[in-house]
């Protein structure tokens, strides 16, 4: 069982690497450049007291953009992983082997998540290199915040790529990716619905959706820029490194998101196991 899942995961990873990885990485580097370049230029040209803020913001911002692209890649590649097999008909020869359908989905999920995480790691290395190049100070507090931000990204990748894989297995990667993106933005709508005071029905819908869906993706990367903007009142001294108790509340939504990922994925596997595998024509 494990062998088959790992084989499928490796196949999915290799498929992405062979065709799309370079485009994704090139796109991410471009986005990183466009996000960081103006702040770096402004930082070097501006007065001394602005420089540190701008350069620190450039590094944090570029990493945020990169992480967002990783998440987008996880959603779109996840949605396309089984859908493409249905379109290209490669799924027939795979499913004519002693492979359980849930093994196919888990393998695809692992492969896509692994690619997104490798991409995220590359982004961290590039951001670190950029930070070192422009002389941004990386202290222990920054690393703790970075760890939390990466944990958010990794959980989001696992959650949304899993949802995208199972939704894409219904045949259309467009619908799979679209519904997953909708799910990622649903918390905004949920909060709006819950805030409608004069309509209990809409509030109930909001509460139900809130119960059924995970908290959306929260980016912690802007917090990496802990330099105050010049002219603003002096911030209080940086807090001490968060202790275990402090991060417990921070981690609760992550565990909840992982639980949602597991539930959604199990439901998707059950549906995929029961249905016909109809080949699509693209």
């Amino acid at each position: 069982m494990t062998t088959r899942i790992l084989l499928i995961a490796r196949n999915a990873f290799r498929g992405i690497m062979s065709r799309r990885a370079l485009y994704i990485w090139a796109g991410a580097v471009l986005l990183m450049f466009f996000r960081a370049a103006p702040q770096i230029v402004a930082g070097f040209r501006g007065p001394e007291r602005v420089r540190e803020f701008m350069l620190s913001g450039a590094v944090a911002g570029s990493l945020e953009v990169w992480a967002f692209l990783c998440l987008a890649a996880a959603i779109f590649l996840g949605a396309g992983s089984v859908a493409t097999e249905l379109t290209t008909r490669t799924i027939v020869t795979v499913m004519a082997r002693p492979v359980h359908r849930w093994e196919l989905l888990v393998g695809k999920w692992l492969g896509v998540s692994a690619f997104a995480m490798v991409t995220l790691a590359i982004g961290v290395v590039l951001a670190y290199g950029l930070g070192s190049y422009v002389g941004v100070d990386v202290d222990r507090l920054t690393l703790v915040i970075l760890r939390e931000a990466l944990a958010q990204s990794i959980v989001a990748i696992v959650l949304y790529s899993g949802v995208a894989v199972v939704l894409g297995s219904f045949g259309s990667w467009v619908i799979g990716a679209g519904v997953t993106v909708l799910l990622a933005f649903l918390p905004v709508l949920v909060n709006e619905l819950k805030a409608i005071d004069d309509s209990p029905n809409w509030q109930r819908v909001g509460i139900t959706l809130d119960w059924m869906t995970p908290d959306g993706y929260v980016s912690y990367y802007p917090r990496l820029n802990k330099v105050p903007f010049p002219g603003t009142p002096q911030r209080p001294a940086p807090p001490a490194v968060p202790q275990r108790e402090d991060t417990r509340d921070l981690h609760r939504p992550l565990y909840a998101s992982l639980a949602y990922a597991a539930l959604y994925f199990l439901a998707g596997c059950a549906a995929f196991t029961r249905r016909n595998i109809n080949l699509t024509s693209g």
Partner: protein, 309 residues
């Protein structure tokens, strides 16, 4: 149900929904089919007859709407598929893999160990004429090479049952011959083979039985040996034939067919042929062709039952 049947399909019905009103379209309707162990059975029929739907149901990709499908006595699923090798009509695989990678991937999925693969892959590549392209990406393959690779992955784990969907489709004469030879060799090794094909001459040369499917239903089924020439009876074509000629041959056993305008076909047994020919030479008739009696060919039956000609 035949207890020794490797494939047992009873009353299989499969419909698809199409259009805005989701009107049901019958892909297969009440299909019953049993494939005994060690035989080669061909499923023939026009495009859209239901052959591939039947095969996909056997592989568990599609769930029957009605009827029972059993492979080795079990419902299709991973435990059964361990004993099945399948080649699709067009072998679609991952273009970034090399030939050896493809076989390694499918072999490992079938439960073969790296040691098994090291033992099985080189002779299989040799057998299918793919030895020299072991490291070439399959995305660069011609259609014929891809089809041979498709057969290689089906044979790789030495399955007891081979399900081949149009195995000679897209092959040149040399490739076709190779594939047909391999199919016969597998049969000689005791394997059961269920194949679909459009090429009736291949079916006649390779298979034991044929099942013709049309519009999702079995239109005709028989043993291949019942088609073609019957060497126990002969046809002698003569011209200058008159009613008097028949009277002169009264002491011989024969039938006359297609008698018109002085021409006739005389049908006799092998035992009577020599004496009858001798007697005919003494008559004022010309003897044309002498050939084994032709009974309906597979093509005749196909045209009759499937094309309605």
């Amino acid at each position: 149900m035949n207890a020794d049947a490797v494939i047992a399909i009873d009353g299989l019905t499969k419909t698809y929904r199409a259009g805005v009103r989701l009107k049901p379209i019958y892909a297969v309707r009440n299909l019953t089919l049993h494939v005994p162990r060690g035989s080669i059975i061909a499923c023939v029929g026009p495009n859209g007859a239901g052959k591939t739907t039947t095969i996909h149901t056997l592989l568990g990709l599609l769930k029957p709407d009605a009827g029972i499908v059993r492979v080795f006595g079990e419902a299709p699923g991973p435990s059964v598929l361990r004993r099945v090798g399948y080649q699709s009509e067009i072998f679609h695989t991952y273009p970034f893999y090399s030939t050896v990678d493809v076989l390694r991937y499918y072999g490992r999925l079938s439960g073969l160990t790296p040691h098994d693969l090291a033992r099985h892959v080189p002779p299989l590549l040799e057998r299918l004429g793919l030895r020299d392209v072991g490291k070439r990406p399959v995305g660069t393959f011609s259609k014929g090479m891809t089809q041979r690779l498709g057969l290689a992955q089906a044979l790789l784990h030495d399955p007891e049952l081979l399900i081949l969907d149009e195995p000679t489709s897209g092959l040149d004469p040399e490739g076709r011959r190779l594939v047909l030879d391999i199919i016969r060799e597998e049969k000689d090794r005791g394997k059961t083979i269920f194949l679909s094909s459009h090429i009736l001459s291949d079916v006649e040369r390779t298979c034991d039985e044929v099942v013709m499917i049309n519009k999702g239903e079995v239109a005709f089924a028989d043993r291949i040996s019942s088609f073609g020439a019957d060497t126990r009876r002969w046809e002698i074509e003569v011209s200058g034939w008159t009613p008097a000629s028949r009277a002169l041959l009264a002491e011989h056993q024969f039938d006359v067919e297609d008698e018109a305008e002085g021409r006739a076909i005389i049908v006799c047994t092998t035992a009577d042929k020599k004496a009858l020919l001798h007697a005919l030479t003494a008559l004022p008739v010309d003897i044309g062709s002498v050939q084994p009696r032709r009974v309906a060919t597979l093509e005749d039956k196909y045209l009759e039952h499937v094309s309605g000609v």
